[in-house]
């Protein structure tokens, strides 16, 4: 099966090809939505964000130089817009403790099963991380971004990407320990 590459689609979008835009949207919108949703934690806001992200692509396609993958470019735009939206909502200062507290107050039935179900507990703790830590974990694990790509999306040096990921994982272990699951690390 042959698929048109993202770069070719961007070239066509730059020329005003609406169909190419539909193909690119169909290909990437779910992942971009999930990335935005994990940051803004609001489905309606995340939906608004993705239409804004792809509208930016429609307008800026002619300026895309292909220095990074199209998916990396999309996530960079989504991140910028998500952080802007959070700032408008006054949630930019959301810290670890606040985020954890939000999760602790959740009446999700999974919470009660957390200690019995390690996987569910891990997912709960992943959701309880700070926005900064959630972001890097998602980029590495779910969006399969390399160290260099994460550095490009987040706008930090590669060495910081590695250490931030390490501390996000460390925090995850601490949250699990608070729930009675000791992973023996760190």
């Amino acid at each position: 099966m042959q698929t048109t590459s993202d770069e070719v689609l961007i070239g066509r979008i730059a020329g005003g090809d609406r169909l190419a835009m539909q193909v690119l949207f169909a290909r990437h919108h779910v992942k971009v939505y999930r990335f935005a949703l994990r940051l803004v934690r609001n489905e309606s806001a995340a939906e608004d964000l993705i239409s804004e992200v792809f509208f930016d692509v429609w307008r800026q396609a002619g300026k895309f130089e292909g220095r990074s993958a199209v998916s990396t470019w999309l996530l960079s735009i989504a991140r910028f817009k998500a952080l802007s939206a959070l700032r408008k909502r006054g949630e930019a200062e959301l810290d670890d403790e606040t985020a954890s507290a939000i999760e602790d107050q959740s009446d999700d039935p999974e919470v009660t099963l957390a200690k019995k179900d390690k996987g569910a507990a891990l997912r709960q703790c992943l959701s309880g991380l700070s926005a900064e830590h959630r972001e890097i974990i998602d980029l590495v694990y779910y969006h399969e971004k390399s160290v260099a790509e994460v550095a490009s999306i987040v706008g930090i040096p590669e060495a910081t990407v590695k250490t931030r990921m390490f501390y996000a994982r460390k925090k995850l272990s601490e949250l699990l320990k608070e729930r009675g699951i000791d992973r023996g690390w760190p």
Binding site: M1, Q2, T4, S5, E7, V8, G11, R12, A14, G15, G16, D17, R18, M21, Q22, F25, H29, V30, Y33, R34, L37, R38, E43, A46, E47, D48, I50, S51, F54, F55, W58, R59, G62, K118, G119, L122, R123, L126, S127, I137, D138, V140, Y141, Y142, E144, K145, S146, V147, E149, K162, T163, M165, F166, R169, L172, S173, R183, G184, W185, P186
Partner: protein, 230 residues
Amino acid sequence: MNAVNETPVSDIELLLPWHAAGTLGYRDSQRVETALANDPELARRFELVRDELNEDIHLNETLGAPSARAMEALFAKIDAEPVRTPPMTFNVGARLRDFFAGLSPRTLAWSASAAAVAILLQAGLIAGIMIKENGAGATAGGGDYQTASVPSGFGGDGSYALIRFQPQANAGDIAKFLETNNLSVTGGPITGALFRVQVAPTKLPTADLANIVKKLQSDKMIVGFVAATQ
């Protein structure tokens, strides 16, 4: 005690998440593999990383998908924009790429087949002329024709394989792979992005060649396809 246990955060340990996600370059990936094989504690920690990876994917996959509202909003905005005309460009590479991307797989397959037949015919004609000329030269001069750089026996005595590299493998990784396995590229790329590589300077028994091919195939980060050839 090994290096990982002595230092709480080794460089290798920092790379574990990317190794689990399969997004490390060949060299770093090999370093991590070696460290994992020699350090049971690091291997245990790697299992923790794999658990995290698994649950993060699970978590994201259960987030659902956006409603049609997002797409409707997007295209309403696009439709409200003034109509754009494709920019005039003299970027030949981009035009060619766009042209080939627009062809159907069937059209491409037929074109490739036709090109292959044309190349074979051309090769046959050239070979015929060369043999004829060599024959004449040998008769007149009493010696064989030989290029300055490549002995005439090249390609006849060695053992060869056809190989296709993974699209994500970079030039450095491929060079390292060739060096590590004592391979030299002798031809290609041919149809299917295949390269012909010499795996040994002598004709190896079939079983030995098969073992080498199997070994090369095991490096999945670099090799997409490999098979023995004449």
